[in-house]
Subunit: 459 residues, 2 copies
């Protein structure tokens, strides 16, 4: 099909285009449904895109009569998946990745707070926002739930950058009014007003969404948490994004700060912050009752294994979040800069190891579900993102399972013909993959990142 | 200085050459000595090499008058370190890296044993040995203590390949006479004889050394362990290489198999296998008494964090191995294929995380000590390897601390001017580094691996 000419005489991109190759996505949750029913693999498939959305998806054989003459890009020996969704990350901490030697509370004081101070300068915030988004895209992450800094201009810089790239991003300014340096604290009222202004400007602007973002119960007074709760009432479809029960000393401190509350989660609950669209990062030390309450409320947990190991926080109980009785929405988070990699593949690697240390199994399909449809569900975005269902937005990635010499040696070039062969290959993707594995990242059907062709160092 | 001409008229490489740039090595153990005294950093240094050995090492200023006209390769914005030493790895398991879902004993039966069977075919063993050595070199590893398979030809193939590359490698054929498939078992006597023949052929052939290699107490009868002990008596400077206390079920099984022994280590001890040059992989579940016995005996432990996490084995007690009272020689092991990376940098990343989970700190200098001089001491090779002391063999690597866009963003190009700046940079090397960080690997003063110049995918 030839490209139509625009009025100016230039060639416009075709309004309908297609991608042909192997596809993997999830149509159900492999923690509950059999993997053969939840993982959908099409060895020779066609994804048809119109105006950035998925118009058709299925086997090439089924779709070729209708779409055979559409402008088509074919990827051989590659695997297409929905874009990865990172359910917890701090963009101002990009530069302080790999900060040495502390556990959570000291790490915040020594590294995180001084770094976040720099984001008072909007020009600086703009620069880091671009580097951060470059890193997300080259790691195959197309959507993230993002902590900015306390300064409204840090949110402005981030949303402006995300909007230019047409990305679906959720972010918010940090709210703190105690137990942090003065230069990062403000009154509960001021944080409320600033947040409100940002919500009105940015929430639902294109693909952007706002998250009310109290850092955690230690740095917010009960008054500030109540104000955050008020915002959720005033704007019922904004998000709430915070931390919970990451570290044993943190949990103890929260109990001391909120003597009238029945545990850490209750400090948020009493403020009206435990409901749908509320996402809690970590949850390593949640109690049984807290897991149950999160399940009832429809809230979500962001499991951040590289961070939990790096800061020595502990081992998250995946099987409890994904229990049959009280299932909690669950996504993966890199938690940069507490986490050690922007890659959700490397994050899944350590999620698998956390499960193993607890004598549990995390299958490759379960891990990739968490990184895609599971993340979309955790962020209440499953209507528009997370898999290749018709009508969804065409954010997807092109993976090379033979991206390094060692992966090329381990994995045969042929597309797997059975689910178990596929499971074996995608397991190596999780254990051995990194940014090199991501050949291209598409946002709303357009290429947003593409690896240059180059020689790998060892053969 | 111009190169001399050989008699044939061709240009010979100069017999004396030098490397100029920044150097880091260890002259003492930073677990015991202050880091300022144990880590040696020279921002502008010169390493002078003659006949593969270090002839001089110091600041460029000090050495320039004597060696200023020697043929010199200068590396700008790079860090030279001694080659990494991997104290536990299985070369026949290269292809089965990232094998899904099991803990130790099932993993052996399901994946390791069937894979090792292939090494009966020497041509196959040759092919894998080359791929394995490529992987070691591109990850900066110049010496390793290596499990081959049970078949003598698997050892022959490995040593032949290592000899061609002039590498210092220690390896041995696996000995098993029970609790493994018939196709991998042989009598204690046969294993003894085959091992003896291999020792006589290969031990001290050039830079090669032999390790008597009973897989572990589960797959060797007391009779086979005694035979292994006899070999250590007959050949007092060969090594012994085995596994110990990796997994709780393994420990329980050994106790049942050796009812007369006082624990797992004692099963080896009674056979004369606990002494100098004896290296025990894992040791996750060693008792206090066993740590003490290893200390007294001068034996070593290979700590294999990526494997211990991947197989869910547990968290090694680094601080107990490095205690003041009963210090045990300690090195790092990748334990491919139970481990998940050939990189000792990525191995150090997870060593740090293991320490953090146990509320301990592992400093970047301590981790890099384990990967270099610590490994050399664990393998009793400190007379010839492990740092840049004059007279030692010139196995070293050229590291690029800005090898990826994210590392380039985090780390300034200037050489660090203080020990704490250096610590911060090398910590990022451990947490973010991988094979991309290794620009070149030198063996006996000659380049054995060099990254081609290429563009990284994201900027």
């Amino acid at each position: 099909m030839s490209s139509p000419k625009s009025q100016s005489g230039q060639i416009d991109p075709p309004s309908v285009r297609a991608i042909r190759g192997s596809f993997l996505d999830f149509v159900d949750d492999p923690f509950y449904a059999p993997e053969a029913e939840s993982a959908r693999y099409i060895a020779d498939g066609l994804l048809v895109i119109e105006d950035g959305k998925i118009k058709a998806f299925g086997t090439y054989t089924d779709l070729q009569s209708e779409y055979g003459d559409v402008f088509t890009t074919t990827y051989k020996e590659r695997l297409m998946m929905p874009g990865f969704i990172d359910t917890h990350i701090h963009y101002p901490q990009t530069e302080m990745i790999a900060a040495y030697g502390e556990q959570l509370l000291d790490w915040l004081n020594q590294y995180a707070f001084p770094t976040e101070k720099k984001f008072q300068d909007k020009a600086y915030a703009r620069k880091i926002a671009e580097i951060f988004l470059d890193q997300l895209l080259c790691n195959g992450t197309t959507t993230a739930l993002v902590f900015a800094a306390v300064f409204p201009q840090s949110v402005e810089a981030f949303f402006e950058a995300a909007e230019r790239r047409n990305l679906c991003m959720i972010a918010g300014k940090v709210m703190m009014d105690r137990n942090a340096p003065d230069y990062l604290c403000e009154t509960a009222e001021a944080a409320y007003e600033e947040t409100k202004t940002l919500i009105q400007k940015w929430h639902h602007k294109g693909r952007l969404r706002y998250a009310v973002t109290p850092r955690f119960a230690i740095t917010s007074t009960p008054e500030q948490l109540r104000k955050a709760g008020e915002l959720l009432k005033e704007f019922p479809d904004v998000y709430m994004h915070t931390h919970i029960s990451e570290n044993v000393n943190e949990v103890a401190w929260v109990k001391a700060l909120f003597p009238d509350c029945d545990g850490y989660l209750d400090a948020y609950d009493k403020a009206g912050l435990v409901k749908e669209r509320c996402v809690f990062a970590h949850g390593v030390h949640l109690t049984d009752g807290e897991f149950q309450r999160l399940s009832e409320a429809g809230s979500a947990i962001a499991f951040c294994p590289t961070s939990n190991l790096f800061l020595g926080s502990g081992l998250f109980k995946i099987e409890q979040a994904k229990s049959a009785e009280h299932p909690v929405k669950l996504g993966l988070g890199t938690d940069i800069g507490g986490g050690t990699s922007f890659s959700l593949l490397q994050t899944a690697n350590e999620a698998y190891k956390v499960a193993q240390l607890r004598q549990q199994k995390l299958s490759p399909f379960q891990a990739l579900f968490l990184a895609t449809l599971g993340g979309a569900r955790a962020l209440c975005l499953e209507e528009t993102l997370g898999n290749f269902e018709i009508g969804k937005e065409a954010d997807f990635i092109v993976l090379n399972l033979r991206a390094t010499p060692l992966m090329a040696f381990r994995n045969a070039p042929d597309a797997p013909s059975t689910l178990s062969e596929l499971a074996d290959q995608v397991f190596s993707l999780i254990i051995m993959g990194d940014d090199r594995t991501v050949q291209a990242t598409y946002v709303m059907g357009e290429i947003a990142y593409e690896q240059e062709s180059f020689q790998w160092p060892c053969s």
